[in-house]
Amino acid sequence: MRILVIEDEKKLSDLIARALRAERYAVDVAYDGHAAWQMIETYEYDLVILDLMLPGLDGAEILRRTRRRNHHLPILILTALDATDEKVRHFDAGADDYLTKPFAFAELLVRVKALMRRGPVSRASVVRVADLEIDRLSQQVRRAGRKIELTAKEYALLEYLATNPGRVFSRTMIIEHVWDQSFEGLTNIVDVYVRHLRTKVDDPFATKLIRTVRGAGYYLGEGAEQ
């Protein structure tokens, strides 16, 4: 699996490359638009991570050219602009996904994985984490065989954490998926919901499954607190 990272900020591109290599991907890095376009023309990539503001050719132009040449190459856009119409424009131009800076690397990795899988994700209807069971079809949650009643938001939060057990989800990621952008950066809403979720899912049991990583976010899983 080969990924091309196009980002002119050397520190950031190296960081992304490092994070992706740690996940055992082969990573190439391009620091300007012309070099990037040459590499796309020369090599076969499985994914392109593209910053929009670039010296030389800009990101939008690379996106356009790439789409004309190869319809299936997944392209993940990194950008500093978070206006909705901006996002819509790039999706229209053929971007497959979109991440706004500053993003959590955990989120980047989740998105990369999703894009590399290509096509619809085959998800099991029942997710198990230790003795916790989440049935996506009936939206029922059981732990150690006992049924747990959750509100709609609590369920959505738990289900989201369960999409990738062991992976840390930042508050921003959680807000974007479970609520909407209006709540971003303003409230401790995630913490409050997680606390409520804990009283139902964790408090009656010895093993705590909903874990906090201070400064980073939450994850679902067993093991020592990070």
Binding site: E9, K11, L12, L15, I16, R18, A19, M53, A80, L81, D82, A83, T84, D85, T100, K101, P102, F103, A104, F105, A106, T151, A152, K153, R171, W179, D180, Q181, S182, F183, E184, G185, L186, T187, N188, I189, V192, Y193, R195, H196, V213, R214, G215, A216, Q226
Partner: protein
């Protein structure tokens, strides 16, 4: 017809001037023609009188006087020519008088000369049947010293009639000419103002979203072309300004967010390293929290500057404010519950507002978040949506700690904090209320605050009058 319109005023001025010019012209023409006609008649009579004097009275003696009448009758036939002729001797004896037999009244109206004047003269005598008689008189002195006066007169009626016809022609012709000129002028003005209407309509259509468009320029070389070019240059300057500030937002976003991403990534990877000690991990976590806060401030600032450039008018829809408030309050209810604060939502009926739904939701979130943050355990937060005389209003009131009076005018300022310590601990960036105000401004809504310390605050937003119809009457609750 709009009496203030340019075309009406131009044509009115033009018509007024035209009437004045035509009246002057008519008067001058009438005066010139009248005096010409009168002068030619006068010359005519004087010349005839002189002729009679020269031919018939030359070398006349007393004996010839008896034949004078016959000679005049033969030569000048005054009756046939409807002319008045009278010859008077110096001593007052009338030697000849025309019309004497046929129409004595004319002659009798002309009093005989009592004394012969020294030089030729002209006079007019009114006739009882109407009109007047113009009479020219010349004096002849015969060789023996006897003086004679020859009077020749003609009716002025033909001149009066001619002048009457001229007056009639002017009286009908001038208004007609003015009418034609006014109608023609109106059509011309209208025609030359049609492009103006077009320019105005096109200019109306240009908003901040299509500033790249320009008014169509017709290469006519006239003032309208100049106006269009000036307007286009103005639009260009506006476009540059808007683009400049958009570029600034884009550049600032890039320049601020990229380093934040790097910081966050480095911190994350350090924290993920199993070699990192517990103490370092604590420090990293604290750093990450600060990075998060910085990112939130950058988000808020950029959102504000985008609102200033007028971005909010994108995605403009009509929707039910009551429904949006109820859903949002529901989504945030756990926040309140967590602090044992009860949230009362008083939104009994549909209140339709027009605007950007996501932005207005942010307004509700920010106000509600603030209200919950600054209300003690067991307090109440009240949301009220109503329509007062067709004006949608939203009220968020709480029973919280309130705002000191000296701070009230400043709460909407960027980065303003009532107490430096209090909201930092709550995790705010100090931009929430500024964003509320900017979004309201973009929607033409007014936001105001009343507060009593230790009793609570009330934020009220008044939207502009909106269309009363309900376009989305059955939005499912909790759709957002």
């Amino acid at each position: 017809m709009n009496t203030r319109s340019l075309s009406f005023r131009l044509v009115a001025w033009y018509a007024g001037l035209l009437v004045l010019v035509f009246l002057l012209l008519g008067a001058v023409m009438f005066a010139v023609v009248a005096s010409d006609l009168q002068a030619s008649m006068r010359n005519d009579q004087m010349r005839r009188a002189q002729q009679i004097a020269d031919t018939l009275l030359k070398g006349i003696s007393h004996s010839d006087e008896s034949t004078l009448a016959t000679s005049v009758e033969d030569l000048y036939a005054p009756e046939t020519n409807d002319r008045f002729i009278r010859i008077t001797r110096g001593d007052g004896t009338v030697l000849f008088e025309s019309h004497a037999s046929r129409n004595p009244r004319i002659a009798s109206e002309v009093p005989p000369l009592r004394q012969l004047p020294a030089s030729p003269f002209w006079r007019e005598v009114r006739l009882p049947e109407g009109g007047s008689l113009g009479i020219g008189t010349v004096i002849h002195q015969s060789s023996n010293g006897t003086r004679y006066a020859v009077e020749v007169g003609a009716r002025t009626a033909p001149i009066d009639a001619a002048l009457g016809r001229l007056l009639a022609a002017l009286a009908t012709g001038l208004p007609l000419a003015v009418a034609i000129a006014v109608i023609g002028g109106f059509l011309l003005v209208r025609r030359s103002l049609v492009p103006m209407e077009r320019i105005a309509r096109k200019a109306e259509d240009i908003t901040q979203h299509n500033l790249s468009e320009r008014l169509p320029v017709e290469r006519t070389g006239d003032e309208l072309e100049r106006l269009t070019l000036s307007l286009n240059r103005m639009i260009s300057r506006l476009e540059e300004a808007v683009q400049g500030s958009k570029r600034l937002v884009a550049d600032a976003s890039h320049e601020l967010r990229t380093p934040l991403t790097v910081m966050r990534g480095e911190l994350e990877s350090m924290a993920a390293d199993p070699q990192t000690s517990r103490r370092t991990r604590e420090m990293l976590a604290s750093l990450m929290e600060e990075v998060e806060r910085l990112a939130a401030v950058v988000d808020g600032l950029l959102a504000l500057s985008r609102l200033d450039t007028g971005e909010a008018s994108a995605a403009w829809v009509k929707f039910d404010l009551a429904e949006l408030v109820a859903t949002t309050a529901d989504q945030m209810s756990l926040l309140a519950e967590d602090r044992s604060i009860s949230v009362a939502c008083d939104a009994p009926q549909h209140v339709i507002v027009e605007g950007n739904r996501a932005r207005l939701k942010q307004v509700i979130v920010n106000l509600l978040d603030n209200a919950i943050k600054y209300t003690q355990k067991g307090g109440t937060v009240r949301l009220k949506v109503a329509s007062q005389n067709g004006q949608p209003t939203l009220e968020v009131s709480d029973t919280g700690i309130g705002i000191p009076p000296e701070a009230v005018p400043h709460v909407f300022e960027r980065f303003y904090r009532v107490e430096r310590s209090r909201s930092r601990e709550q995790g705010g960036a100090g931009l929430g209320l500024s964003i509320v105000k900017s979004i309201c401004a973009a929607h033409g809504a007014a936001v105001e605050v009343e507060s009593t310390p230790d009793q609570g605050s009330r934020f009220r937003i008044r939207f502009p009058l909106s269309a009363p119809e309900i376009e989305q009457p059955n939005l499912p609750r909790g759709a957002a």
